[in-house]
């Protein structure tokens, strides 16, 4: 496999402090390789966004990172821990190395500034020496790249449609040619036609520019189609991680299985829709042991007492994947 570009090691993120802290992300280990699309799925509240914001240190108060490392491998030079950077270094790292596209583009764009301003101020912040002219040329180029004509440069966000705004965001994310692009549900507000169009474009750009993507959504079918590898989160932990096709064909964790059988398929024979019984766990009062066990149809004795570790499963194709389930005890923990 390709070399890693971003390694998350034992990341822990809490909301709040002390006893009342909510542990939203726990001991997450995840590696993003160069050029790949890593999908992150899991139902609402499972900690996907927290993970994304946590590793970039963008989490708003009362979020705190209580432990872990986020090791970034730049194209040149030694790897370093993003969590150890000073504020100034972090500002320089942001967007130049890792850019983020959020869910609602309307909310991601400052409503009172023209999109040209918002595009160029990144350039100004990261490369103050760049001339006014070349900044605007670059912005124009990015817009063209995402399929928006350059004459919309002077438009305000509200003058663009939802799809166009989302594309502006994608263009903005790529303007500094970062190594990693994190996309947190970038298309949920859009309808399917637009969604496909934008994702298609993104994949194409990734092939041309060679950046890696962390793609967050809870729509598994979308992930299966668009990403190389998928990690599934539940209750703040990664419960399974495998190549997209592998997961789709043969999910090991009962939760992943449940997710995959929760949505109706449009094509092919009508599948049985099993769904997942119960409702998502309350992060403040997590059940002991495996957090999924109260909803798990296959729960058995160790599940309610011990937390399973993410590790390579004891299955024949266990090589490229890992799972945290007592049904498939880890042969060797990841991380």
């Amino acid at each position: 496999m390709a070399e890693p570009v971003l390694e998350i090691r034992n990341l822990n993120v809490d909301y709040g402090l002390g006893d009342r802290a909510v542990h939203a992300v726990r001991d997450v280990n995840l590696t993003l390789h160069r050029g790949e699309v890593l999908g992150l799925a899991g139902e609402s509240g499972s900690g996907k966004s927290t993970l994304a914001y946590g590793m970039t240190r963008l989490l708003a108060p009362p979020g705190v990172i209580t432990g872990g490392e986020v090791v970034y491998h730049p194209q040149q030079g030694p790897a370093y821990d993003v969590l150890g950077l000073t504020d100034r270094q972090l500002r320089a790292w942001r967007w130049a190395e890792t850019a983020i596209v959020f869910q609602g583009a309307m909310n991601s764009l400052n409503p009172v500034h023209k999109i040209s301003t918002q595009l160029t101020d990144v350039l100004k912040a990261h490369d103050p020496k760049m001339s006014e002219h070349s900044r605007s040329a670059r912005a124009r180029e990015m817009l063209k790249l995402v399929g928006i004509s350059a004459d919309r440069m002077d438009a305000y966000p509200h003058q663009l449609s939802g799809g166009m705004r989302q594309r502006v965001m994608i263009g903005m994310a790529l303007i500094l040619q970062p190594q990693v692009v994190i996309m947190d549900e970038p298309t949920t507000a859009l309808d399917v036609v637009m969604q496909r169009q934008i994702l298609g474009q993104l994949i194409e750009l990734r092939e041309r520019l060679g950046f890696s993507v962390i793609f967050i959504t809870h729509d598994l079918s979308l992930l299966v189609e668009f990403s190389n590898r998928i990690a599934i989160m539940y209750g703040g932990r990664i419960v399974e991680e495998a190549p997209a096709a592998t997961i789709y064909r043969d999910a090991l964790h009962p939760y992943s299985k449940g997710l995959l059988s929760s949505f109706p398929a449009l094509r092919g024979p009508k599948r049985e829709l099993a769904g997942i019984p119960g409702s998502p766990p309350d992060l403040a009062g997590m059940p002991a042991g495996c957090s999924f066990h109260p909803r798990c149809p296959k729960a058995f004795e160790p599940c309610n007492s011990a937390i399973p570790v993410l590790g390579r499963p004891d299955t024949p194709d266990g090589a490229g994947r890992s799972v945290a389930c007592w049904l498939h005890p880890a042969e060797q923990p990841v991380g």
């Binding site: 034992n10 990172i65 150890g84 504020d87 972090l90 829709l273 409702s279 004795e301 005890p329």
Partner: protein
């Protein structure tokens, strides 16, 4: 149709799936509404206000002297006999303050209640009904808003002979509802299209029921903070009116004290004890009301709550501040978190 019925069985019947484990959600149901009392600011405000209310009720009884009674101690400084000193007629300032509290509180709260009622009636109705009704009520609101309140109060009170506290409260109430009405109208406009209002309309509720039972409870906090704001305004107005001597009521309030003090140039005679306490009493009352208002604001919008602790200790002993955009890192070692127990021994798997 080949939808497997099993799925229904699995999801619906009995308590199988959707039933919640009982303990999962503690029932902090109704108490949530009074949670704002737990806010430190609101609690402080309420305590101070409580003292004022108490004085308003029992003040005249605990006053050491008749506040109007003359004595031979003319313009005496604070002493054991006269805590806040005396006036040019030898009246006891402390007793005047105690006695005056009632009038101030009465006018403040009555005017606040009148103005709030009017603003709710006009603002919410305008906001909910819209159209012509909204237009005419908005013009009314704006006209009242545009006419300067204090001069208007002066004019109206001068029409009334011997305005009692109630009448003064009425005048203040009638002239100061418009700002809140505007705020409420805007709030209602944003609520009106909310799904739950539409939903109760769709389920066939009558208009007045929607306004009273669906909209108003959601406006409680806004109404409450409007009320508190109007009370402050009313208190200041009453005191201003009394201070410039246009209110003709004969009783004591803090404005009357200030009026006498200023008429007798208390500060010019260095009789600060005569002038200062009433002003401080007003300021403290105003502060307590503002604190309550803070509490309400923060209750409505939790974002406004100051983060309890903003300075954090990191594992290495340094401190970091909680701030937007730079999440504090308390420890960046990659050791697994303590609460994840790694069980080394593989557990027997159930036969498939």
């Amino acid at each position: 149709m080949t939808i497997p019925t099993s799925s229904i069985e699995q999801v619906i019947p009995g308590q199988g799936s959707m039933a919640q484990p009982e303990a999962a959600k503690p029932s902090r149901a109704k108490r949530q509404r009074f949670l704002f009392v737990r806010n430190k600011k609101a609690a402080t405000g309420l305590v101070i206000l409580g003292v004022y209310v108490l004085i308003a009720i029992i003040g005249p009884w605990i006053a050491p002297y008749d506040p109007s009674a003359r004595s031979n101690d003319l313009v005496q400084g604070p002493s054991a006999a006269h805590w806040f000193g005396t006036t040019h007629l030898g009246q006891d300032v402390f007793s005047q303050i105690l006695e005056g509290t009632r009038s101030v509180m009465l006018v403040g709260f009555l005017a606040g209640a009148i103005a709030t009622t009017l603003s709710v009636l006009i603002g919410v109705t305008a906001g909910y009904l819209g159209g012509k009704m909204d237009d005419s009520l908005s013009v009314l609101t704006n006209v009242v808003l545009v006419i300067p309140a204090v001069p208007l109060m002066i004019i109206i009170t001068s029409v009334l002979n011997n305005a009692s506290d109630t009448l003064v409260a009425l005048v203040i109430g009638l002239t100061s509802w418009s700002w809140n009405a505007r705020v409420l109208r805007a709030q209602t406009l944003s609520l009106r299209r909310r799904d739950f209002v539409e939903a109760s309309r769709a389920s066939g509720e009558r208009t007045w029921r929607i306004i009273v039972f669906e909209l108003m409870p959601n406006l409680t906090a806004v109404i409450a903070s409007g009320f508190v704001g109007t009370v402050i305004f009313a208190v200041l107005s009453e005191i201003t009116l009394a201070f410039i001597g246009v209110v003709s009521n004969s009783g004591w309030n803090w404005g009357t004290i200030l009026f006498w003090a200023q008429g007798q140039q208390a500060l010019g005679q260095d009789a600060w004890w005569w002038f200062v306490p009433a002003g401080l009493a007003i300021a403290l009352l105003g502060t307590s009301l503002s604190l309550i208002n803070f509490g309400i604001d923060e209750f409505v919008s939790p974002r406004l709550r100051s983060a309890g602790k903003t300075k954090l200790k990191t594992a290495s002993g340094g401190t970091v501040r909680m701030r937007i955009g730079f999440t504090p890192v308390l420890s960046n070692s990659a050791t697994p978190h303590t609460h994840a127990k790694v069980v080394a021994t593989p557990v027997m798997r159930e036969a498939k």
